[in-house]
Symmetry: C2
């Protein structure tokens, strides 16, 4: 089975300025991981056409799936749709189905030119329906285009996910311990060398109030049937070194 | 005056798997913006040497400053330092100052080989001191290398920031209104066309409890002396269209 991969492209001046904390990529990341799709890269770019065009092309060639969020609203700074049309040499034009959806959604006389802009997409785009504020996202080739508002994006993404081809979910176990990373390191090295099919990561943390810290050790694998042996070996090692551990 | 620019490189399998919500880039982003340094790109890559090497080279050529977080701990999956050495064709070797700092920090006999690994850096690296857990970050050329643990990264970053060359801070005003984006769009288009030196962004939000939404309109400029005229024009426009507004 070929591994399914993904890249996320966040289109967002507001994230780059620090005004907004991006949470969309974390939401998508979690869902991809549990669906057996390996997220390999996240990129946050400016609201600039050439940057979006180049990144979309690159990601579309590299990954099984590309997810973009942001820049499909009605204002002048919403340039995602036309950028994606350009990336795939498609016309940027009114999508009739999207136009009809939006026309029905707005009170008579309020479906103005700006709002009509939200119906403009690359030709032959397949719509992603928006059950909350009507304005749809869309799919072109392997690129899935979502709005930036997290609550709306999340509902639309979870609908799209149902129809995505999934892989074998990545197995993950996380072990928490009060031992320090540098104490654990030589032992984790050895265990990693023994089990090449899994990836052992160690993520230290530090609590400023209590002046104590520890490590979360994550064992993960896309291919192993069970992580039990690795888990057991790490837990034993922690005990032998006088530490506490728990599975989190 | 040339505009100072920056790129952030987050080295983090744990972010890509969705296990960790990255907050480091938001912390750095806010501080850069208020220091007059324009953050142009954030990239989150896997803990893989070739990815890190290529991204560091690219970013170092493109931006005035590059900031990386993650992957400088003592374990096998910490490969940032050796990757950066490779990116700049430098030796990856024990930094004597870092070695001495770490040797003093650990109780006698506990400065083991794994811990000594944290003293290995590209040759001629300049240290970034770590007042919390001792293990330093470092600077090579225009690349600033920080650990991934947010609380530690933040303290170290704010010390580094004091010595960075800063630009004229970007001016930003945010106006909140209860009007919808698609209502505002044609007017914002016109105002944007009139004031080319600023960037007007509109960020819709939606509250699911109250089923109401609105827009935050952000006016920003790296070059204008005052945004007052733009702010006034937008506020008047909102009033004329029957909306409320407030400066946030």
């Amino acid at each position: 089975m070929t591994l399914l991969t993904a890249g996320i492209l966040i289109i967002g001046d507001e994230v780059l300025s620090g005004r907004t904390q991006d949470t969309n990529s974390n939401y998508i990341a979690k869902n991809l991981t549990s669906s057996g799709i390996k997220l390999e890269e996240i990129k946050i770019v400016q609201d600039q056409k050439d940057h979006i065009v180049n990144s979309v092309k690159l990601f579309s060639d590299k990954y099984s799936y590309v997810f973009t969020t942001g820049g499909i609203g009605p204002t002048h700074d919403d340039i995602t749709s036309e950028s994606i049309a350009e990336a795939f040499n498609k016309k940027y034009e009114i999508n009739k189905e999207a136009f009809n959806i939006l026309e029905k959604y707005y009170p008579e006389g309020e479906f103005n030119l700006s709002r009509q802009r939200m119906a403009k997409m690359p030709s032959d785009a397949q719509l992603i329906y928006n059950p909350i504020t009507a304005a749809p996202g869309f799919i072109v080739n392997n690129v899935y285009v979502f709005p930036g508002v997290p609550k709306i994006m999340e509902v639309m993404f979870s609908n799209v996910l149902k129809n995505l081809k999934k892989g074998k979910p990545k197995k993950i176990i996380t072990i928490n311990t009060n031992l320090y990373e540098s104490k654990l390191a030589p032992f984790l090295n050895e265990i990693q060398d023994k089990y090449k099919e899994c990836s052992i990561g160690s993520y230290p943390y530090f609590n400023f109030l209590s002046k104590t810290g520890g490590v979360n050790i994550s064992i993960s694998s896309w291919t192993m049937d069970s992580l039990d042996d690795v888990e057991k070996e790490i837990s034993e090692m922690i005990k032998l070194n006088g530490g506490n551990y728990s599975i989190v």
